[in-house]
Symmetry: C2
Subunit: 414 residues, 2 copies
């Protein structure tokens, strides 16, 4: 048992007992001699972040091909470099990504990439949570469809289990995946009671191409194909019409909003407030560093708020509470993980922040400070599943992780 003594929660000082992986008790004063005591004077507890859309292993691509058109960027910069990737590169790349996540207060992420065993091992070793899907992308080639289905099933059925890892499925998009692959993955996700993730309506071009090919918009298509529902996550969803918003609402499908990536790649600006007002399940993601170029959910919250106000042309849009929720509890809820709020019975996923940190003063509004003023320097400790993954700003093996990452970057440059 771990006992957090004198920690700020909702502007009051309290004690919090962690028993196993849970927040067991929150009270003014807890006396528990057998617990390991952590002195939290001057620190506040907040839920950790859940990053619902990223590509962790793309870390080596940070800063590559800035300010280019999407086509040039992909073909000149991203694809040639990705082609050099080997399975053994993924573990060091994912570990490095998770290092950045932990430093910025994230304890759970949804990934979408290749060679997933390396990512799974990185999540296990770093101590956080991952929703790790097998990524299907068949480019309408029957042989690749069968191969993807075979590998997807193998991933879902693999005996390997860890309470912090959720095995899932993913189809890249309607413009890279066949109907058969998407529907089979959807059926498999239902059969094995797991999650299906897909990029949807990221760009206007995607919508236009879909209408031309299928005679309907992407969300309408995916609805017809029966793949929508509470365990389906649509990443981006920038370009939705009102009918599509209604379908998402009706099916309880979750959206992963990636405002930085959408602006950086010129995909468009999602109307966050409109979707919130429609009652959609909104969560927040950074996307990969190649289009952000950070995995910080703190920085993502600030842009989400400002972008929402701009798109709605109203300062009443993108309110502090809503922005904090999409970055924390909405994400965990989407994956049925009992975290994202500091309350008894919840999993002990949380961060401690230094209330004397420059950026968190004055303490008029802690959530606003986290969204608009904070950076990684505010976070002192990160816990996941009841265990510390960063203690007084120290993450175990950091130097080794950075060295391993540099080695991979050097190897991929050759």
């Amino acid at each position: 048992m771990i006992l957090l003594k004198n920690v700020f929660l909702n502007n009051k000082v309290c004690d919090i007992l962690i028993d196993g992986n849970h927040l067991a008790q929150i009270a003014d004063l807890i006396d528990m001699p057998e617990a390991q005591v952590i002195d939290c004077r001057g620190k506040a507890i907040l839920p950790s972040f859940c990053n619902t859309h990223t590509h962790a292993s793309m870390m080596f691509l940070r800063g590559i091909g800035e300010d280019k058109n999407l086509f040039d960027w992909l073909n000149q910069d991203i694809f040639p470099r990705e082609a050099k990737l080997k399975p053994e590169h993924i573990y060091p790349l994912s570990r490095y990504a998770i290092l950045e996540m932990i430093k910025t207060g994230t304890t759970c992420f949804t990934d979408m990439y290749f060679y997933i065993p390396g990512t799974i091992k990185a999540v296990e070793d770093m101590g956080i949570r991952g929703i790790i899907p097998y990524l299907g992308m068949d480019f309408f080639d029957d042989q690749k469809t069968e191969e993807s289905i075979r590998e997807g099933i193998a991933h879902i059925k693999s005996p390997h289990t860890n309470e912090r890892i959720t095995k899932a499925l993913c189809c890249h998009s309607v413009y890279t995946c066949s109907q058969k692959l998407i529907q089979t993955f959807s059926d498999l996700a239902k059969k094995y009671d797991t999650y299906l993730q897909i990029h949807v309506s990221e760009t206007q071009k995607e919508v236009d191409d879909c209408i031309q090919k299928f005679g309907c918009r992407p969300v309408e298509l995916l609805y017809q194909w029966g793949v929508m529902g509470p365990k389906t996550l649509f990443a981006h969803a920038v370009h939705l019409n009102d009918d599509e918003i209604a379908l998402i609402k009706k099916t309880g499908t979750t959206l992963a909003h990636c405002p930085t990536s959408n602006l950086k790649l010129g995909s468009g600006q999602m109307g966050l407030q409109k979707y919130l007002d429609a009652g959609l399940n909104l969560t927040l993601g950074t996307d990969g560093v190649s289009s952000n170029n950070s995995l910080s959910m703190i920085s993502e919250m600030k842009l989400a708020a400002l972008s929402a106000k701009n798109k709605a042309n109203s300062v009443l849009a993108g309110k502090v509470d809503d922005i904090f929720d999409i970055a924390t509890k909405n994400g965990f809820e989407a994956f049925s993980i009992k975290a994202g709020e500091i309350k008894e019975g919840n999993l002990a996923d949380f961060i401690l922040v230094d209330m004397n940190n420059q950026f968190l003063l004055p303490n008029n509004n802690l959530q606003s400070n986290m969204i608009y003023a904070a950076d990684s320097s505010c976070i002192t400790d990160v816990f996941c599943n009841g265990k510390p993954v960063m203690t007084n700003k120290v993450i175990p093996h950091e130097k080794e992780i950075i060295a391993g990452f540099k080695d991979v970057c050097a190897a991929l440059k050759k």
Copy 2:
């Protein structure tokens, strides 16, 4: 003399000699036995930032009145609190603001606020540069006009001098200041060869009201009044038509772009790329924390880039080099301060960043990393005018500065 040994500059390792307040020599190897040597292995040198629009002493208002309409926010939250401010509060508030500036790499700022002696003393003590104007705002009251002119002259003519402080003048706006005040301050600025700052076309309402009252738009009005020129700084300038852009270009007037504040207050989204393409003098400002809520130029650069791409609907807008320039050399240039680039003969205003910091790897593009991925944790040292103001992340008297700030916040709550 100070000798920076083995510092990264433009991806090469070199030595840099600081003599007095200048960068005296940059070479592969410098041998200077009498210099104080600073081991810079693993660190890169970059120009420090120049924040061309802020209200430093508003630090106590961070997080107050979030997500409200401008009118409610000002009247319910900001004005009642500002009314309690006394001259003695300004020094601790400004010191705290400068602490935040230094931590985020800024060594020069343009202020706009009341009770300026406290701000001047804070700039002196903290070791950075300030363009500190007397702020005129007469609300069209003749008695206040005369008082403002008297005090403005006293400020400009005061014997107090410090090479890091530039005394200047400021009129709040065309909707709060009389023609007489604005023109007199403009004439005084010319007479004393200093700078004139004014909020211009921040909101569409300001433009509409100006047209109604004067029959022309704000920039046209200020041009007619003869106040534009290379030593005039327009803050915001969100809503300009092509004629106004041409007037700004023709007169060499400088603009302070404040993208976060503009989006947060719902003022609108400036078209940065359009202005850059027109050849205007663009600089970058955070505005005060009450509408940002941070003084970090790093975070401001990221939003400037993303906002530029969004507004222009082009990923080719808001390019890395341009964004870095508006945050550094353009700002210093606007105030005739020879800094903002690391080159021989320039003033020694710079930052050192840790090239092994999580957020600066891989080093594909250091400027892009600074704009899109970095935060305060990357900056280890800050120099201004040849002297260190932060050394290995330590700023002298930090605890005392924070304590003094908390005392003022507490006093202002009563």
